[in-house]
Amino acid sequence: MPTTAPTAHALSDVTASDSTLRRFLHGLPGVDAVGLEARAASLGTRSIKTTAKAYAIDLAISMVDLTTLEGADTPGKVRALGAKAVHPDPTDRTTPATAAVCVYPDMVAAAKEAVAGSSVKVASVATAFPAGRAALDVKLADVRDAVAAGADEIDMVIDRGAFLAGKYLKVYDEIVAVKQACGDSARLKVIFETGELSTYDNIRRASWLGMIAGADFIKTSTGKVAVNATPANTLLMLEAVRDFRAQTGVQIGVKPAGGIRTSKDAIKFLVLVNETAGEDWLDNHWFRFGASSLLNDLLMQRQKLATGRYSGPDYVTVD
């Protein structure tokens, strides 16, 4: 583990060369998988009831990046999604809006229109999502398109191939370039595709790599592989942003994405946030859920809390 807190300056030194970067990333404390998973599971046993549950459900709704990333997406589909994001529960206007809608670059314009006048942001995946297997200038063009169309947030994927091959500086340079392409207008979420990085040590290294390169958010997954967000990998990333702020004073957001489908799951993630990074992250500026079906479950649970009876799928909208 680093024995002294590196200053922001020291952290900029670590990217002087491939070897300094490698030394830094491999000098991060190791992760014991069993211990990490046990801690995540233990936090998962928190019992969140009544007022706490109501608070958590509304918070979770406000943190959803309501997502559609399908080849079959159309402006109509995206408009429906936007409407849902702005008013998730048309029967109850006290329901908070979601944080954002998340779409492919060519759907950004339609999405912007759909959420116009609301607090809902438009996030766009980019950089040859989800594989990221394209030339850098193609990736950057992808980003510029999305930003030009009005995207408030860019969800990029890192080059996992380069990362696994140990070419950390290449991964870093690409993030830096994308960040530049985002300009001042778009916040950058960096997707690691944790399921492909495979080990927790890699996830910790990728987290620091992303944060040093200028990510505004670090994000687990594309939702397109077998293993996406898990309590353990999200806990690990929460530890990373916590430690990064302690060392540099810079706060970075976290976005677990893919596989979070129930309110119960979402609340467990919020417990992870609360007891790891702390309440400073309990805000949709700093924590998001990349999800689609989660929202309806949150809405049904919200209705249950309000009415005392269990809701059903016919009482929430299918979009």
Partner: protein, 301 residues
């Protein structure tokens, strides 16, 4: 040159001065005391050192000092050393047959049987050194992502009150298992027949047994056993040679630092021993290691 054949006097033999064996050296008792050792018919055999509490203390210091190296030696190495003891004894078999016959009032042939059994006992325990861990230790199938392994370890310094009657075979039978597993020993030899024990020390000293691994004291059993039983740096005590009253008293004293106590029990020293005397002075250490999966995300391979 004389013409007359001189009448030859029988050669005057050289007596052996029996000494203690402490820390690989052969000191006299610091007290300067000795006591008469006689054979079964009361004939004087030798003066044996009558050890004091201070000798006992010195022996414990030596045994403690030797513990790290001996317990840290490979089991294979300890086996080699114990086997070497058997080899050296075999070479001095006649001496021990004579000493045992004198000490225990046995016929030549009976004494020979005793010595042979004692030599074979060293061989038996020499073979155990690198097997006992496999027999009594191993992996435990815990219900979780952990590799969990139990291994025996020597308990430390063991005080051995050697059997009173079986001064050699009994002694070997209680001493060999103590050191086979990596403990070091402070032995109180049979009070009335200490000479085979003191001679055994000479064998040990020339058998690659590191100094201090075995320390041999002769003297009054009760006088020596009491400070050893109460000694805070002794980890265990074998009461084989203590009578009922003394054994109880020693066991009570041993409770002060919770020594492992092996109570006296009837033993046929000619029989094949079990593992009981090996395990009596072993601790079980159980170590947990997380295992978990290879990756955070399952595997596609």
């Amino acid at each position: 040159m004389s013409e007359k054949t001189e009448k030859t006097e029988p050669r005057l033999s050289v007596f052996k001065t029996y000494k203690l064996y402490v820390g690989g050296k052969f000191p006299r008792s610091e007290s300067g005391r000795v006591y008469e050792v006689t054979d079964s018919k009361g004939k004087w055999l030798a003066n044996a050192p009558q050890s004091s509490r201070k000798d006992a203390r010195d022996a414990v210091v030596a045994a403690r000092k030797a513990f790290g190296g001996w317990s840290g030696a490979t089991a294979y190495n300890r086996g080699q050393v114990l086997y070497r003891v058997a080899e050296m004894l075999e070479g001095r078999r006649e001496q021990f047959v004579r000493e045992v016959a004198d000490a225990e009032g046995l016929s030549k042939s009976k004494a020979a049987a005793v010595v042979d059994a004692a030599i074979d006992r060293w061989v038996w325990y020499a073979g155990w050194t690198d097997k006992i861990a496999q027999v009594i230790g191993g992996a435990n199938p815990v219900a979780g992502p952990f590799f969990n392994l139990s291994s025996p370890e020597p308990t430390g310094v063991v005080a051995v009150v050697a059997p009173q009657e079986s001064s050699f075979l009994g002694l070997v039978s209680v001493l060999a298992p103590v050191i086979a597993t990596g403990n070091t020993a402070v032995v109180i030899a049979s009070e009335k027949a200490p000479l085979p024990a003191l001679s055994l020390a000479e064998v040990l000293a020339t058998s690659d047994v590191p100094g201090g691994v075995v320390n041999v004291l002769s003297g009054r059993t009760a006088e020596l056993a009491a400070p050893l039983a109460a000694h805070q740096d002794v980890n265990a005590i074998d009461l084989a040679g203590a009578d009922e009253a003394l054994a109880k008293e020693l066991e009570i004293a041993a409770a002060d630092n919770l020594k492992r106590v092996l109570r006296p029990q009837p033993v046929d020293y000619f029989g094949t021993p079990g593992t009981e005397r090996l395990t009596a002075f072993l601790e079980t250490k159980t170590v947990w290691h997380p295992t978990g999966s290879l990756g955070a995300s399952g595997s596609s391979y």
